[in-house]
Symmetry: C2
Subunit: 285 residues, 2 copies
Amino acid sequence: MERIERHASFGGRQEVWKHVSRTLGCEMRVGVYLPAAALRGQPCPVLYWLSGLTCTEQNFITKAGAQAHAARHGLIVVAPDTSPRGATVADDPAYDLGQGAGFYLNATRAPWVPHYRMEDYVVDELPALVEQHFPALPRRGILGHSMGGHGALTLALRHPGRYASVSAFSPIVAPAQVPWGQKAFTAYLGDDRAAWAEHDTVTLIAQPRDERLPLLVDQGDADEFLASQLRPELLRAACESAGHPLTLRLQPGYDHSYYFVASFLADHFAHHAGALAAGVDEPGA
Amino acid sequence: MERIERHASFGGRQEVWKHVSRTLGCEMRVGVYLPAAALRGQPCPVLYWLSGLTCTEQNFITKAGAQAHAARHGLIVVAPDTSPRGATVADDPAYDLGQGAGFYLNATRAPWVPHYRMEDYVVDELPALVEQHFPALPRRGILGHSMGGHGALTLALRHPGRYASVSAFSPIVAPAQVPWGQKAFTAYLGDDRAAWAEHDTVTLIAQPRDERLPLLVDQGDADEFLASQLRPELLRAACESAGHPLTLRLQPGYDHSYYFVASFLADHFAHHAGALAAGVDEPGA
């Protein structure tokens, strides 16, 4: 890993690293916030943030105001890019397919094989790198926005025991039922609806499962994608039906932007910090 | 004025407006944050933020995390662009002259006359517009970053009674003595050193004056422009010599970025809120 940015921030440090990913077969960039405790070498829990369509590792670290919360709770925050990148990586001219739109799954169809394996990258390779290079505890939370909210929810549901906490802003909760997800799933997974179901939050929630992590989900009710792409009512119904603990907050007047994310991010950090600190001897101060 | 962006944010609203400026002879954009109290129609004090070289009205409103503080203190925050703009406005290929580099003064030399009149715009036209279009009290604070820190300090010093509070991040405190300022002053004001002195904070501080607003200045000690362009030691010496109240904080490890601004912005809002609320019947909660 090679550090390419380094900025003092709220007593800690916001960094950006690049590395060649074995999983994705390309160079990747990732934002890493290290709170003061981590800079002193004290192991800290790690919160993984997954961004939405069109984003890189930069959007969250520059726009969300996350560093203040990470500093307060003593959390490392890792913000990867949203897809494999580079001239040798398949792409599509549309904003919602290809580079910038990896959908946090492993593609099985050409031309997206072999690079598009964001699930393996986020769940396995990236945490291994983080826990090797930084004073990171193997205690992980995951959250994200929009496509990244879909990523956070599906990855936590698909990998029980891997994350201690999960939350989302404006997540695509039923990709198999909405245009963004149907387009991406058709491209990356083909027409096999059983494969789609494995990456669809409302379907995963309905399955029998031993672990049911409480979900915190914020959604703006003035979000331009609410009715067409996000449909939080499907998540509410799925959780009620399955007995899955859900706090779903419809925030009046809020849209799909980082202004919305920033407004409620403190609550999400508190949600994760509570779960992540429970297994730590000395919680971040 | 025409609203071109509108985002719910921390219980208030971040907006962007455009308007044709009489002073500048071009269309201008300006960020306006309205706290919840202002949305209810309650008059609020106004904080003016001036950005640095290359910035537009977007940098501060997307990167500084200011909305949380504005909401907490019940302040309207106005963030204008850094120069006149447009195809009919003189420009220069360098990042530190022309569009994006107005230096918050009224130019007297071609080709910068007649558009480059950022002092009149910020001090007169913009507050008049704000106080007409929003529930804004005629109680103003001013702050900024780098070239905008220079703007905040010089405009407050040049217009006693106009601002109740002033502060700066990484300001250019002695433009007449450093390359950025010498280049801009030569272009906009010609070779007349007496004209330069009127826009040089350390010179203005040395003049006899009835009003001496306390200055809060934060400066990162890892700022890449510290020794060449910023030279806070000249401000400290000028304030000591003149008896001007100054809180100058050298922040260890911090650079020139918005990560630095965001880290200490809460203190600046508290500084301004204290002064601005003093004349208000019901301080923002």
